[in-house]
């Protein structure tokens, strides 16, 4: 199996699978550890609440599985909440501990009231990614996507301790935040490539080309 889409009973995983199917990647939506560890690539997607997601991962013993998969050195992809869960902790409704694989925090958007330029929370919609690092070309992104529009749905954003892992930033309201990271074999995005139209599908084609 090319792709294991990790199912931790949190969200709609079918859109990731539809994108895989579109580019000819075989995929399975699964909570089964053996099946996940066996795949060429694991994807941790997700939309929703951080603490509930962590509880589900622990209950299903998927936290261990994720540590082991990442140790194996095979490509691991996080999307949206799947990016945030990799971090140490989140301030969503009190402090919550994450997987602690990436050093740093998850913070909530906070804007001063300004009626002239209201920025709703959550951010739901399209925004641009600005390439901030040369390691970009070593990821599934290749030479593409600088200044392109991607689809975002989130109220929180990640703040990595090590700025060198930041691939791109995006600006919403007064906040310029990290919208993608690369740390060793981990590639994770705050945006949803599977919902980012033809540009997003090109990212999946990049994945398909990399694993042959």
């Amino acid at each position: 199996m090319d792709i294991a889409i990790i199912d931790y009973k949190m969200s709609n995983l079918h859109s990731v699978q539809a994108a895989c199917r579109k580019v000819g990647l075989s995929s399975v939506i699964t909570s089964d550890q053996a099946q996940i560890l066996d795949a060429k690539i694991a994807v941790l997607p997700g939309v929703g609440a951080f603490s509930k997601a962590m509880n589900h991962l622990v209950e299903l013993k998927l936290d261990d599985c994720i540590y082991r998969f990442i140790e194996s050195g095979k490509p691991f992809i996080g999307i949206c909440l799947g990016l945030q869960l990799l971090f140490d902790e989140s301030d969503e409704f009190g402090k919550h501990t994450g997987l602690g694989i990436v050093k740093g925090k998850v913070k909530k958007f906070h804007f001063l009231e300004n009626s002239n330029s209201k920025h709703p929370i959550p951010q739901i919609g399209w925004n641009k990614v600005q390439q901030t690092s040369t390691i970009w070309k070593d990821t599934f992104l290749g030479d593409n996507y600088n200044d392109d529009f991607m689809y975002f749905v989130h109220s929180h954003y990640v703040v990595p301790e090590d700025e060198n892992i930041i691939l791109s930033t995006t600006t919403y309201g007064t906040t310029e935040y990290c919208s993608a990271i690369k740390q060793d074999n981990i590639f994770a995005t705050q945006f949803h490539p599977e919902k980012s139209g033809k540009i997003g599908i090109k990212i999946y084609e990049g994945i398909k080309n990399k694993i042959g």
Binding site: M10, S11, N12, H14, S15, A18, A19, R21, K22, V47, G48, A49, S115, S117, K118, H119, P120, I121, P122, Q123, I124, G125, W126, N127, K128, F149, Y151, V153, H154, T171, Y172, G173, E194, K195, S196, G197, K198, G200, I201
Partner: protein, 285 residues
Amino acid sequence: MKYIRIIPRLDIKGPNLVKGIHLEGLRVLGKPEDFAQLYYEHGADEIIYQDTVASLYQRNNLTEIITRTVENIFIPLTVGGGIRTLDDINIVLRAGADKISINTAAVNNPSFIDQASRFFGSSTIVVAIECIRQNDGTFLAYTDNGREHTGVEVLNWAREAEGRGAGEILLTSIDQEGTGNGFDLDLIRMVTAAVKIPVIAHGGAANVPHIVDSINSAGADAVAIASMLHYASVKLIGDLTGKYEKEGNIEFLKGKKSFKSFGQENLMEIKSQLNDSGIPLRVLN
């Protein structure tokens, strides 16, 4: 930067895309998947499917339409109409929708918003508010395509929906819907000023200046458009007449007449003109 979303809204009856006025008097325009595909190619930011007959999801062919749609369209799809239970939401999400919208079920039982947003995440739950302006200038929410009076006051209801965990509000002016007379700017202004979550303005758009007004003058975060897009697209979709004789009113398609009050631009042209008017949005390269 906040980029404004332009969202084609497709009202569906049985297998067909339909369009009416004030949410009634439906005409058959074609197959929803065909229109959705065209709008995707033309840079739609999301798609809304609204089941106008609110059929029961357990025996509903809308799920098949959803599944066919999401095989080829990689932007968010919101589905509404007749969603009553958490099971209904599950069925629609499993079919491939990204978000669901609720109106009647939320008005009848507001705690359904809490349950749904807790279970599926706030960003999955859109609360649709369908409004009619009253003689005293206030707005009341209606259900069942504007047929059922609820006595619920729109401003308070929008705040309550947000408080209960709605991720977005889809705000329809029934008075303006399908008329092409422009948005109800007072309504949109009132709600966008009252809530922090995104508000999708719907009902009345016939041309680009209408859309610009809803954003610049009333603060809409996203705009749902239907008639102005569908009528201009029927020609593009090709020769659809003769295929839909079994259901609905196909006189519009047979007549091939266009509605003079609506613009003739396709979605790509609409977005390009909005961009020229200084509205920040995603335009395809």
